[in-house]
Amino acid sequence: MIAIPTRADRVAASPLGRANPLATLSVALAWLLALSTTTDLRPPLLVTAAAVAAALALGRVPLADLARGLAPLWLAALSVGFFNALLSPANADPTATVVLAFGPIQLTEPALAAGLALGLRVVAIVAVGVAWGRVTDPTHLTDALVQQGRLPERFAYGALAALQAIPWLAEDLVALREARRMRGLRASWHPRVLVGLLVLAIRRGDRLAVAMDARGFAAPGRTRYRDVRWAALDTLVVAAGIAVLAGIVALR
């Protein structure tokens, strides 16, 4: 069998994919933090643009992948913006300019602006999160958290294994609901289904723990298959990220 480079491989080989996930994480956190200090319209737009551009150009994330990750975001941003504008106290201000009136409901300019600002911030926060998520490989992140972040191995690799068990949990739920239907009962959210789900999750966790121990997880003198270091690239990523942020703040 020939190994065909997958999309994930291309992302992993990109500058952002190769960078220490803690470097990209600290940039993402700095951007999010800066967003929370402003109510202007421009910074969230610029942060969104920067995050998307970085993921596409420096992370080589395929556009379709990124678009799929961002898809639910438009609806969320629209509804957050719309309802904040609609329910804003500024609508009751008699001196404000009315943009839209429908019977007793009216939308004023300041309310619309506030709603827009909030909606845009939701867009920016999700865009940064999705962009970081798409360039970050979970294994790489776990290795970095253990090797640079000094997170206990047992916790970090346990969490990584648990992350993979999530699809299994969904399958367990389907199976338990089917089991109820096969007894002629409604496939509802019966408490017994939830208990069953918990029992199955615990049993899976138990087995996984035994399997990890059987493969020498508890043994001293553990070596590392992947050595994650802090390299010049990582310092560069952090510096560039901060520089972009400074530019965005200055443009305000």
Binding site: E178, R203, L208
Partner: protein, 479 residues
């Protein structure tokens, strides 16, 4: 499990055989040095590995020499990517990075997974996960390899390839192998020693396969242990005599009675663009016996779930007793079509065997529940109060079968009903199935077990890549 004694020479292969619930998996865990520090239990007596008493050796040092593959490969894969998962065991044994990078691709290739390095473990099929678990256990060159039902998730071809790989391993005599396996035809030819356990967990016999077959045959058969040299009824050829044999063509209906279930030109996909079944045409006549065969991932389980209305087709139509299953009330549907899942642990909905069995039954059905359970080797006076999760794999499977049989549905669909069954469980299953067929129930079994397909003795439908590849009947004159 108690009173087990054996001596295993380095490089030898021990096969552990025994009925369901005799403690085979427990023994495997103990031999792997995991009791009591990692797996629950208490160990009395003297267990030595490489001459070191297990009780007083540092577990980490023990485990470093041992590779284990448990039942259920999905719950022993740790890392997100295939290569990291193989490396996981090497890291724990202190291998240096260059040695690991050299070893991982070789271990994968040996397990038949060359080129899978960057694949995600969660996306692998059951058979591939099993191969990966083996690659991970074997990568560190363990002195002892402990395998618990390793062919469970493999189709016949995969199981055969696995047995061949073990045979190669045994030839080199570098690794001692302990193999727990119901498939005697695969396991016994590999064995230097066979340890047979009785139902109560005490040793029944220990010796070379030839000794056991010569000296203990009746005792082994009585204990419900499969033997390697039992003849199997022949399976139908591509289109056996008497079979309709034509590709994709359902056998002619007699027209007097409607099919108990039928699929007409059904497509099914869980994810758009990734079809599981395409153009499935299948009609199940009343009282029919149908074996649904096909390799891992060919869509057998999906077809089974469609036929009982658990899944709705993406395209085409499914009818149960002539009606759209989506329009039949759940309590009525469960009496028209029964389904026994491949994974019984995921079908238990109560804290005791009795409560689980009685769930959703009418008073009439409750009256016969005890008899059904007893016929399947689960008498309620002994098993009724037990927690279903504490049963052995074979017992769990029979419990989930009992809870469907008791409703006497017109169609009974079984997904891998014989996996992990000892001889007694198998025979009980077979006679119950035949009794239901006599009473007019149609039985459909999705299975890798060619012996069961032959013993079922009806129609064989073979799926390949989501389509019906063959549809034929077992010859009437088959022995």
């Amino acid at each position: 499990m108690s009173g087990v004694t054996f001596d295993l020479a380095p490089g030898a292969c021990l096969v552990v055989a025994g009925p369901s619930g005799s403690g085979k998996s427990t023994l495997a865990r103990a031999i792997a040095g995991l009791v009591p520090w990692a797996a629950p239990g208490r160990l009395d007596g003297d267990l030595r590995l490489d001459g070191h008493p297990v009780a007083s050796t540092d577990p980490a040092a023990l485990v470093a020499r041992i590779g284990v593959v448990f039942q259920d490969p999905s719950s022993q894969l740790v890392m997100e990517r295939v290569e990291d998962d193989v490396a996981f065991g090497l890291e724990g044994r202190g291998w240096l990075p260059p040695a690991m990078r050299a070893r991982v691709p070789i271990a994968l290739a040996e397990a038949g997974l060359a080129g899978f390095e960057r694949r995600r473990t969660a996306r692998l099929s059951g058979g591939e996960q099993q191969r990966l678990a083996l690659a991970g256990a074997f990568a560190p060159h363990p002195g002892l390899l402990v395998l618990d039902e390793p062919t469970a998730n493999l189709d016949p071809q995969g199981a055969l390839a696995f047995a061949e790989r073990l045979a190669v391993l045994r030839e080199t005599r570098e690794t001692t192998i302990v193999l727990v396996e119901h498939r005697a035809d695969l396991a016994w030819p590999l064995a230097d020693l066979v340890l047979a356990l009785a139902a109560d967990g005490t040793p029944l016999a220990l010796g070379t396969p030839a000794d056991l077959l010569a000296g203990h045959r009746p005792a082994l058969v009585a204990a419900g242990i499969w033997l390697p040299d039992e003849p199997m009824s022949p399976l139908p050829a591509a289109s056996g005599p008497g079979g309709s044999g034509r590709r994709g063509e359902p056998p002619p209906a007699d027209g007097s009675r409607p099919p108990v279930a039928e699929a007409r030109d059904v497509d099914f996909a869980f994810e758009r663009g990734i079809p599981v079944l395409s153009g499935l045409d299948l009609a199940i006549e009343p009282g029919a016996r149908v074996a649904l065969l096909g390799p891992n991932g060919s869509g057998k389980s999906t077809a089974a779930r469609l036929l009982v209305g658990l899944l709705r087709p993406t395209r085409g139509m499914v009818r149960v007793a002539g009606r759209d299953p989506a329009r039949i009330a759940p309590r009525d549907l469960a009496r028209l079509a029964g389904y026994v899942t491949q994974d019984p642990e995921r079908s238990f909905l109560a804290g005791t065997v009795e409560a689980d069995l009685l769930l959703g039954l009418t008073p009439d059905e409750r009256g016969r529940a005890g008899d059904v359970a007893a016929a399947l080797g689960l008498p309620l006076d002994r098993f009724g109060a037990r927690n279903p999760f504490t049963l052995s794999g074979g017992e769990q499977r029979r419990l989930s079968l009992a809870s469907q049989l008791v409703r006497r549905p017109g169609l009974l669909v079984l997904d891998e009903p014989t996996f992990g069954q000892d001889r007694r469980g198998y025979e009980g299953l077979l006679s119950l199935v035949h009794a239901r067929v006599e009473a007019g129930t149609a039985v459909v079994a999705a299975t890798h077990d060619l012996r069961f397909a032959a013993d079922l003795g009806g129609r064989c439908v073979r799926l390949a890549a989501g389509r019906i590849a063959e549809d034929g009947h077992v010859a009437e004159d088959a022995p």
